[in-house]
């Protein structure tokens, strides 16, 4: 079947199998391998992307369901000149990553969280990231990074 999907502002049309998952489509068809496949069971959040601005787990969507939609992946966060997005910058400054595998999904989940809760408490950050697992257990610095990004004044609501 034919799907037309806008990913990070670029619209393309491709023939895909109906059973192709969105995460496969992003990685294999669009060549955007920043989105990781972790558990592949809707649990770990490594494959989190934004669908029309809301966080979703791309291992649990068909590419067909994204037909006509706008997707943002981790590759779409930094500015074209390479300047990091404020959330990425906050992860960098606060060492919000260890091995880095969960990081793309974390950053996308945070983007969605801060849209819904622009001024979250620490508890709201921890609960808001319950769909993302860091197996290095680096949660403390991730939470610090999110709070810092929220209060940086650099996020466009």
């Amino acid at each position: 079947m034919r799907v037309t999907v806008t990913v990070n502002g670029t619209t393309e049309t491709h023939d895909v199998e109906a059973r192709m998952l969105l995460v496969q489509y992003l990685r294999e068809v669009r060549g955007l391998t920043g989105t990781n496949i972790g558990c592949d069971t809707t649990s770990c959040g490594a494959c989190t992307v934004l669908l029309d601005g809301e966080s979703v787990k791309s291992c649990t969507l068909l590419a067909a369901q994204a037909d006509g939609e706008e997707i943002t992946t981790i590759e779409g966060m930094a500015a074209p000149d390479g300047t990091l997005h404020p959330i990425q910058e906050a992860f960098h400054q606060h060492h919000g990553l260890q091995c880095g595998f969960c990081t793309p999904g974390m950053v996308m989940a945070v983007a969605s969280l801060l849209k819904e809760h622009p001024d979250p408490s620490e508890a709201e950050v921890r609960e808001g990231l319950e769909g993302n697992l860091c197996r290095c257990t680096g949660y403390h610095n991730i939470v610090q990074a999110v709070l810092s990004a929220a209060h940086s004044g650099e996020l466009v609501p």
Partner: protein
Amino acid sequence: MIPASFEYRRAGSVEEALGWLSEDPDSTKLLAGGHSLLPLMKLRLATPGVLVDVGRVPGLSYVRDAGDHVAIGALTRHRDLEISEVARASVPLLAHVAGQVGDPQVRHRGTIGGSLAHGDPASDLPAAVLALDATLVADGPRGRREIAADDFFRGFLETALEPDEMLTEIRVRKAPSGWAFQKFNRRAQDWAIVGVAAVLDGDPRVALVNMGSTTLRARGTEEALAAGADPTDAAARAADGLEPSSDLHASAEYRRHLATVLVRRALVEAAATRG
């Protein structure tokens, strides 16, 4: 993990979906948010030949004050129910429980109709609508019918919906106070080991998550409450007649104990919200 091959069709209306469903009901499945069905398809536990995507059927995502009840469109996503002003004011239990399902990403996609039609005894929303004495509205080739929540959940992943029917609306009674939800799990996004939804306004209704092959009511507790028992005594009967399963998370005996503890907490909390 990749699902087995299927034919994908996107329905533009309930009528179109029902038409496709009636062509071959036994090998056709409706796809809403997909957060119950797609995981099963990836595990090849479900292998429908045709997948009818109803996710974009217009007019089925709403939370409406309908006078004596609140009407919820079957395609209402958990997140939309969680933040609905109508739900928060008139059925705060349902808004609260919608906010407890899975995690934010799941709540952005999953729908109330999909969750109920899936009929998983470990899900939270079936217990909430059972406690709220809901009526479920199904459309099909023989027209529209209303199914009481008490008659809807038939067995493990089995509901009263016929294979050629589609759940379109959920009607719940208003319960602005006198409610509580308790859920015990080991990790943040896990299914409940046991959960309890309690509504004390009107006839007390107490529904349990994961205490049998379907969501079900704690009849012993309800009878005790009707007879005037206090929360502790009523909660002691929470597992009367129930046979929960044992699995890697908990033994049946532990679940029965947990039910009495959580029901007691729920009854105390629900009484406190009555003001």
